[in-house]
């Protein structure tokens, strides 16, 4: 789903709900990113995360360039949530719920 360099950076969190592929790009310091992780944990959703502030600057550059080119968001804010081929920028449980229920945003 992602290029190999992102696959290598992603940390996995187990969950029983694995009907969608969730990968979230987060900051370890960000309260809203923590809430996003907690939301997925509470829903028992299997997901992966990349704490972008914790990776090497060279990797940061590659990850951010990939997100910009692949999803073309107006801005990259955190958490940057990817569910299958959809994405949501920021902490927004209403939009996450739509991704869970409809598979789209």
């Amino acid at each position: 789903m992602f290029p190999e360099f992102i696959e290598k950076l992603a940390q996995s969190v187990d969950g029983e709900n694995d009907s969608h592929e969730w990968t979230i790009f987060t900051l370890s310091t960000c309260g809203w990113c923590k809430k996003c992780k907690q939301y997925l944990n509470d829903k028992n959703i299997k997901y992966r995360y990349v704490d972008i502030d914790k990776i090497d600057p060279s990797e940061k550059s590659k990850v951010l360039a990939y997100l910009r080119e692949n999803y073309k968001p107006e801005r990259i804010s955190y958490p940057f949530v990817v569910c299958d081929d959809k994405f949501v920028v920021g902490y927004d449980p209403t939009k996450y719920e739509k991704l869970i229920n409809q598979g789209g945003n």
Binding site: L27, T29, G31, D53, S61, Y78
Partner: protein
């Protein structure tokens, strides 16, 4: 005041909010997460960069993100809260029914691009 400790950082943000006639987020979980993020950034970078934005680690590029960030005043005035929702307008809890508000990024894209350029140079 030792801003590399949670107590010192709480004292600092308390002073900032008082000086600006703001209030602090009353949700203890959110508040503590943000304080811990600020402390981590202070320890990592030497300055309390906004915990909700990606810092470059180079002070000149992050100067506008040092808490309170350059955008906090306008965001609190216009939206009722700063980007992180750490600082809130005095009437926040009377006016907004939700516990938080999503604040659009006010930081100019050029500054974000400068950070990306900086990371690129590390390749």
């Amino acid at each position: 005041m030792d801003m590399e400790t949670t107590e010192g950082m709480k004292e600092y943000v308390g002073m900032v909010s008082q000086k600006n006639s703001w209030i602090l987020n009353k949700d203890q979980s959110t508040f503590n997460d943000l304080i811990n993020g600020l402390v981590d950034n202070k320890k990592s970078y030497g300055y309390q960069s906004c915990p909700c934005r990606l810092a470059s680690g180079k002070r000149d590029l992050d100067r506008d993100l040092i808490c309170p960030c350059d955008y906090a005043s306008d965001d609190v005035k216009e939206f009722g809260a700063c980007y992180c929702n750490l600082y809130l307008r005095l009437d926040f809890y009377d006016k907004f029914k939700a516990n938080y508000v999503n604040i659009p990024e006010r930081r100019p894209i050029e500054k974000e691009n400068a950070v990306l350029d900086y990371f690129n140079k590390q390749l």
